[in-house]
Amino acid sequence: MRYLPHTDTDRKAMLEAIGVASIDDLFTDVPEAARLDGLIDLPTKQGELQVERAMAAMSNQNVSASSVPFFVGAGAYKHHIPATVDHLIQRSEFLTAYTPYQPEISQGTLQTLFEFQTQVAQLTGMDVANASMYDGSTACAEAVMMAARVTKRDKAVMAGTVHPHYVEASKTLAKYSSVSIEVTEPELDSLDKVIAAIDENTACVVVQTPDVFGQLHDLREISRVAHEKGALVIAAFTEVVALGLTEAPGAMGADIAVGEGQSIGVGLNFGGPYVGLFACKDDRRFIRQMPGRLAGETVDADGRRGFVLTLSTREQHIRRDKATSNICTNSGLCALAFTIHMTLLGEKGFRQMAQLSHENACALADALDAVEGVDVVNDAFFNEFAVRLPGNAAEIVEKLAKVGVLGGVPASRLYPGQFEDILLVAATEVNTEADIEIFAKALGGVL
């Protein structure tokens, strides 16, 4: 077997050195009843060619985003990733490296994480960021639990326009804790209901901007109210590119910013792996309550600058049952892809990418608005918005797929039984005028 280096001669010599007759003598602690007669009922080994064929057969059944006009968002976005990014993350020293617990031989990983942390803090207008979480939804859930610990309160309020997957992930994490989560009714054009739900028992309020319907929100008023009542503001986002054109959460009063970094460097990947971003103010209550890994600067024995994982006593491998989270892994390679792409872009390219995405979304909005019976709902959006259709959005999406257009996500897929005539559509710099024309024409055709 090509990945197993031993020959039978090797195995024989090793068994001799150990002093046993056969490999079975090393498995004597296995209970009799659990010993198997022969192989488990699965296919036996295959060469590369056969495996490629089997995997390609499954891959070929799928419609890839690049092959058709593509306008799907709802929490994950297709942007163009330069060839350099994927090339670099496949370098042996990045791909097959372990967690940087031995910093002297992990400076590559540690320095790139330090740069990543700085970029995330700058993007969100915050003071510090961690070395990434699994994804935006679990970052959001962890932020809620952190807010409860910091404020010593156990009521969390989440706006109904936060992505339902983020709401559900938060509810699951909090389910058997003392933290209860109240979700307000989704409002498409204000945060009034959320503001009204904040009181002196509120640990935090979670709002998303751009929200799941793509609507942009000014968080200044809700931050003022929350802080007056001693509650923290957690600002969530699913499209990090929005931060290239719209106001940073930190500038609008947010205490913690959480979101999905997938748009930069990572690609669609059918939902994972992605990269969760987590940043907060440098409040002395916060740093030691943050979940996740942190890379920090220090010096070595010769006085040279170097980087290490730090503040590890928050983490489960040391704090055990008193840890700030049970999280062990970060999203290492995805965080690296993010930081490489962001370095290639620089703020100049990032702002440009955001501008292009917004302009394409505006063009898309105009084109769809012009279709008979179709109305754009949002008055302010970045690259995603809701359209009201004269019919069932889920059925219309299926019809569009049949004519070769991936035309967004029906809102009812995220809110079962609600918003059945609402379609969520997104555009980025990858969409062309031709794509938009085809989409508008196809939509008109299926209505």
Partner: protein, 524 residues
């Protein structure tokens, strides 16, 4: 005759001394290039991507234009390439050498996995596309689920956990949901061996349980008398790792499973050490109710410098109905995704994360499994166990195995062999770095003093093992011969010397900050 008299010696003159480690002006040393931060190298005006010019049309941002400075520098493509290639060379990696890290299973990462993961039908599809456009993606999830359930002898599997600890959370949530559904709400005590990895008690607490630690006996396994004494009608279950974190198979595991079940609890198994038994033993046959599997350990998906991982969790008949959403089901040859609790047949405890799971790791792991097959996977476990025992057998005369007898896929040593040498486990580990090896797992498990846990995995050749063994033997002898300074100063050959972790924790600097503008000196 005409001669080309320009002197170009072709070997170094005899009287030149080449010893010493000279400091250089640039900070680089030959192929080892020093590299500053992007913040010190790049500028906010630089960009390594050519995007079309925006049209400059009116925006619809509702007055919420960004006014906050970004401050992120860019680099041209050549400079970006240099920055990251230089940094990569400061990293150790599996492709470079052995990581003898116990419980991490640092095996070779096949490149076919990478090629398959990048097929456009996997890499370039959106999780929220209509089901009819992603049947092949659902099929991968379904196929991998089938392999995992079959290898484990279990009837259910939750595919959505994003990492091992997330899978632990999934398994314990299923147990809590099951207990509550049966009205067993008084059962809140979870038994956890002292030797368990810290994620175990952390997870139990997150699910609303309290943790009751079970000591190990003198063979390093669960102390059965102590275990039995802790049973009671408030027991929710037990969290065991098997083989355990000392690298030993829990012989009494069937008895433990039966007693926990009789007492009304459930058996969670931490699957971190699955590499020792995959293809040879099925956790379902051991009485396990839930077990997370680290695809990045047993199934070779790359560690990537710390992640991403993937932690699908197999579930028994009792727990399968409580598996979280979403999951895939095959109905009349057509794959469907069950995304909402209301549409599920059982009673899911909730959703763990956005979308459907770590698809990128699924394609890699499935490629690995299909490559090995049931026969190859069995060989994996056998070679992994063979390799660890070989190391233990060949080093026990000079290092001190923590427990007598054979081990499974990892060998545990303690620091008794370093007694009175002045060399600690940490010093020994740092000296290994100078020898070109990543250190083994140190100071874990906590039940042994100065623990050194060595797991070579099955992808280490005999000659590689022999070289490693010879090195550890030489280091042990050097420590015993009194060469303390060498160990305490190590590493001296790595890109940095030992780093000041105290300073990093006392004065955390977690990001680059622009230097404050210099104040003009006041006129005298």
């Amino acid at each position: 005759m005409p001669m080309n008299t320009q002197g170009r010696p072709t070997r170094i003159a005899d009287n030149i001394a080449t010893g010493g480690y000279a400091e250089t002006t640039s900070g680089s040393k030959g192929l080892e290039q020093s590299e500053a931060l992007i913040y010190e190298r790049g500028s906010v005006e630089q960009c390594g991507v050519d995007l079309p010019e925006p049209k400059g049309t009116a925006t619809r941002l509702g007055g919420l234009e960004r006014k906050t400075e970004l401050g992120m520098p860019g680099l041209s493509e050549p400079e970006t390439m240099r920055h990251y290639v230089r940094l990569s060379r400061k990293n150790y990696a599996i492709d470079l050498g052995l990581y003898p890290l116990g419980s991490c299973t640092m095996k070779h990462n096949p490149r076919l996995n990478e090629k398959m993961a990048r097929l456009p039908g996997f890499a370039d599809v959106h999780p929220m596309q209509p089901a009819s456009t992603v049947q092949g993606a659902y099929a991968v999830i379904g196929e991998l689920a089938h392999w995992l359930m079959t290898l484990c002898g279990m009837s259910g599997v939750a595919m959505s956990p994003k990492a091992g600890a997330h899978g632990e959370f999934c398994g314990m949530m299923a147990i809590r949901a099951k207990l509550d559904a049966d009205g067993q709400t008084h059962r809140r005590r979870v038994l956890v061996p002292e030797s368990a990895h810290g994620t175990n008690p952390a997870t139990a607490v997150q699910c609303g349980f309290t943790v009751d630690e079970i000591p190990a006996d003198e063979t390093g396994r669960v102390d059965m008398e102590a275990f039995k004494a802790k049973l009671g009608d408030d027991v929710a279950g037990i969290m065991l790792t098997n083989p355990n974190t000392c690298g030993l198979f829990e012989r009494d595991i069937r008895e433990i499973a039966d007693l926990i079940h009789e007492a009304g609890g459930y058996f969670y198994c931490d699957g971190a050490n699955f590499n020792a038994i995959v293809g040879r033993v099925r956790p379902g046959d051991l009485g396990v109710d839930a077990m997370h599997i680290n695809l990045h350990k047993t199934f070779s998906t790359p560690h990537g410098g710390g992640g991403p991982g993937s932690g699908p969790t197999v579930l028994s008949d009792a727990l399968a109905p409580f598996a979280p959403v979403p999951y895939v089901v095959l109905k009349d040859k057509h794959w469907e995704l069950v995304e909402h609790e209301a549409d599920a047949e059982g009673q899911p405890f909730g959703r763990m994360a956005a979308f459907h799971g770590q698809m990128g790791m699924f394609t890699r792991a499935l490629t690995y499994m299909m490559s090995h097959g049931s026969d190859g996977l069995k060989q994996v476990a056998e070679d992994a166990v063979l390799n660890a025992n070989y190391i233990q057998a060949r080093l026990k005369h000079v290092m001190t195995p923590a427990f007598d007898g054979i081990c499974m896929h990892e060998a545990l040593f303690d620091d008794r062999f370093l007694k009175d040498t002045g060399v600690t486990t940490l010093d020994f580990a740092k000296a290994m770095i100078d020898e070109g090896y990543h250190p083994m797992t140190m100071y874990f498990p906590l039940v042994v003093h100065g623990a050194m846990l060595i797991e070579p995995t099955e992808t280490e050749s005999k000659s590689g093992l022999d070289r490693f063994i010879d090195t550890l033997e030489a280091l042990s002898l050097a420590a015993k011969a009194g060469e303390v300074e060498r160990f305490q100063a190590a590493p001296v050959h790595a890109p940095t010397k030992r780093l000041d972790e105290t300073k990093a924790a006392r004065q955390p600097v977690l990001r680059w900050t622009a230097p404050a503008a210099e104040e003009p000196i006041a006129a005298e």
